[in-house]
């Protein structure tokens, strides 16, 4: 399974692709909405791309709990372990 750094860089590529956010800005402590300006619809695109990339399932009900990039990385790590 991918480690934290691999998931972070994979997620950063996805966020860059979906919303044009520079990869270096995608850090563990950044909030998707408040810091990276990812709205709820872009978040769906990020989540679906992450599901494909990391082979995990992230149901809609869980997406709203993923406030920061760190939350998403932990979720993917746990879901994939």
């Amino acid at each position: 399974m991918a480690d934290q750094q691999e998931i972070l860089s994979g997620l950063a590529e996805i966020v860059n692709e979906v919303a044009g956010v520079p990869v270096d800005n995608v850090q563990l402590d950044k909030a998707f909405t408040d810091d990276l300006d990812i709205d709820s619809l872009s978040m769906v695109e990020v989540v679906v791309a992450a599901e494909e990339k990391f082979g995990v399932k992230i149901p809609d009900d869980d997406v709203k709990d993923l406030r920061t990039v760190g939350d998403a990385v932990s979720y993917i790590q746990q879901a994939g372990s």
């Binding site: 709820s40 619809l41 769906v44 695109e45 997406v63």
Partner: protein, 335 residues
């Protein structure tokens, strides 16, 4: 086999769209007007939906009034007289006086003879559903000329204070006349439903609940935006591709893409997901018509024709998807 023998009635080999008509109510509603009731902004609404303005019907303007206006134009565009229509189908979820149907009243209003008339309820997929039914009625011999109308007065079922939905919907009507054809001009339908997601888009208070507890507010539509977005973009892109396959075509051969005008973001994400070429003309009528549910596909096709962006003979992929959840897609030849 022995026993009684019934005579079958032969149908036409194929069916095609003969004409399109569109009607948008006079009143244009801006995002600023919507924002008088919700804490939002013109910029926020444009970013989230691509909607700049929408039309709202007058208070006393009914779905049948709007349907009649669109139908007159569709008949004229098809070169078919009202008395040649033998079936009238109306798709709507906002004909709030449930009985009798909108279709029978519409048929009478248009001066048709006594055609078969019925309403269908398939929400935002309704027009594509109706097209599939019309084609099969014509090919099965039950109808020759079908008038199909998608009409909605969604402003009646919209809570202006619901920040998640107040800016989405508009009112309007779109109609098509479908008739017999020597060549295939409406492709096989790809359709279905997913009742497990019934709560994704629904009326929040049932009519019975309102009867039993009159302190309820008047019912309105609620939607879980991210849930619908996920289904629409990822599942509907597959259905759209299946409809192209079913027509024996490839995506490269397609000229026009007319998805239900749900949200510009859904349209953009679908295009990306389907890998559609830049050459394909894409309907973006939502920008100043809003989401008009069953009416959106014919309204969008009507606009593309009026603006000369598409021509008769082009192949267009239609896909409708919405509350149910239900969906329906087919490739058609533009009339």
């Amino acid at each position: 086999m022995t026993g009684p023998r019934l005579s079958p009635r032969p149908g036409a080999s194929h069916a095609r769209i003969l004409g399109v008509g569109a009607y948008r109510p006079a009143r244009v509603v801006t995002n600023d007007e919507i924002c008088e009731y919700i804490d939002s902004s013109d910029e926020w609404i444009r970013e989230r939906s691509g909607i700049i303005t929408r039309h709202f019907a007058a208070e006393d303007e009914t779905v049948v009034d709007m349907a009649a206006a669109a139908s007159e134009k569709a008949l004229a565009s098809a070169g078919v007289r009202a008395d040649e229509i033998d079936t009238v189908i109306v798709s709507t979820v906002t004909h709030l006086s449930q009985t009798p149907s909108a279709s029978a009243e519409l048929a009478f209003r248009l001066g048709t003879k006594t055609p078969a008339a019925f309403d269908i309820g398939a929400a935002c997929a309704g027009f594509s559903y109706g097209l599939a039914v019309a084609q099969d009625l014509i090919r099965g011999g039950s109808a020759k000329h079908v008038l199909l109308v998608g009409v909605e007065k969604l402003s009646d079922l919209t809570d202006p204070t619901d920040r998640g939905i107040a800016f989405i919907f508009g009112d309007g009507a779109g109609a098509m006349v479908i008739g017999p054809s020597d060549i295939p001009a409406i492709g096989p339908v790809v359709w279905g439903s997913d009742g497990a997601q019934a709560d994704a888009i629904m009326q929040d208070v049932s009519w019975l609940a309102l009867r039993d507890d009159p302190t309820h507010k008047f019912p309105s539509l609620r939607m879980s935006g991210p849930q619908v977005f996920r289904w629409a973009v990822y599942e509907m892109s597959k259905a759209a591709k299946d409809a192209i396959d079913a027509a024996g075509m490839t995506a490269d051969e397609l000229d026009v893409f007319i998805p239900h005008q749900a949200n510009m973001r859904i349209t953009d994400a679908m295009i990306k997901q389907m890998g559609l070429s830049d050459r394909v003309v894409v309907a973006r009528d939502i920008a100043d018509t809003g989401n008009t549910s069953a009416a959106s596909i014919p309204l969008a096709m009507g606009r593309l024709l009026e603006e000369g962006q598409i021509q008769s003979g082009d192949t267009a992929l239609l896909i409708g998807f919405g509350a149910g959840l239900v969906y329906s897609a087919q490739v058609v030849v533009v009339p």
